[in-house]
């Protein structure tokens, strides 16, 4: 029995079209970490091309989205690695760690009490259902200092351990914890001010 076999390029075109559906998601994922729309789009493009080339390795055990996200994570890590070689995280010397600590100190009184005590946020699921909440969330994420945000997204989005982050960025574990704490405090204060406290 002879069936008409689609040509190789036709297969690729139809697969690329199927993967296109994930582009928006992948770009959002990448923007959060790279904080640069153009760079994020490039990395996603590389990811989709790598996916087409490597489609033989897709086992079908995970969803296509999970598989693509896995490839994207590697591309993002490669990019961050290159970038941290080009612009070392602590390029401005010891001040960096100091300014993180100062920013944290500023939120507390000298006796260690909160200057502005965190209030209850009520039911976060209600916020999650609201489109405007996500606009505020994006804005607050972008307000984080760039270096802090880099460590935060490596931890929370790429889900790397602090050991891995330290190794990638050449910073100490303590510094890493301080930066993560700073990031969370900053995001928290912004969300309370712009959303939950209203």
């Amino acid at each position: 029995m002879v069936e008409s076999v689609p040509t190789q390029s036709a297969i690729e075109a139809s697969e690329l079209a199927a993967l296109e559906a994930f582009r928006g998601y992948l770009v959002r994922y990448a923007v959060l970490q790279l904080r640069d729309q153009a760079v994020a789009e490039d990395v996603v493009q590389e990811t989709l091309l790598a996916a087409i080339e490597g489609r033989g390795r897709f086992s079908g055990k995970s969803s296509v989205k999970t598989w693509l996200t896995g490839i994207l994570k590697h591309k993002i890590i490669d990019h961050l690695r290159r970038r941290s070689r080009e612009q070392p995280l602590l390029a401005d010397g010891d001040d960096s760690g100091r300014s993180e600590a100062d920013a944290i100190d500023a939120l507390f009184a000298s006796d260690g009490h909160w200057r502005d005590a965190p209030a209850s946020w009520g039911d976060p699921d209600r916020a999650f259902e609201n489109r405007e909440f996500w606009e505020v969330f994006e804005m607050c994420a972008k307000l984080m200092p760039a270096k802090t945000a880099r460590v935060f997204t490596m931890r929370e989005v790429l889900e790397l351990s602090t050991e891995e982050i330290c190794k990638e960025l050449g910073i100490t574990t303590t510094n890493c914890w301080v930066m993560l704490h700073r990031a969370r405090l900053s995001l928290r204060a912004c969300l309370e001010l712009k959303w939950f406290g209203k």
Binding site: I104, G112, W177, L180, R184
Partner: protein, 65 residues
């Protein structure tokens, strides 16, 4: 950290609890402080909300647009 943990100490521990297992001594500090401090209990909740929000954000399917 001094003998009586302050909100500043506790907030730091709560944050680090998301990144590493705390020592017994640190857990004890939370155990002493949290029942007496609504602000730090709220902060603990906020950390969980932030982590959940990041997950939801990257998983755009269930974000209303």
């Amino acid at each position: 950290m001094s003998i009586i943990p302050s909100c500043k100490d506790v907030s730091e521990l709560l944050s680090q609890a998301q990144d590493r297992p705390l020592t017994l001594r640190e857990k004890f500090a939370l155990h002493v402080h949290l029942p007496l401090c609504q602000a730090c209990r709220n902060f603990r909740e906020h950390l969980a909300v932030i982590r959940a929000a990041v997950r939801r954000y990257i998983d755009c399917d269930d974000i209303p647009r």
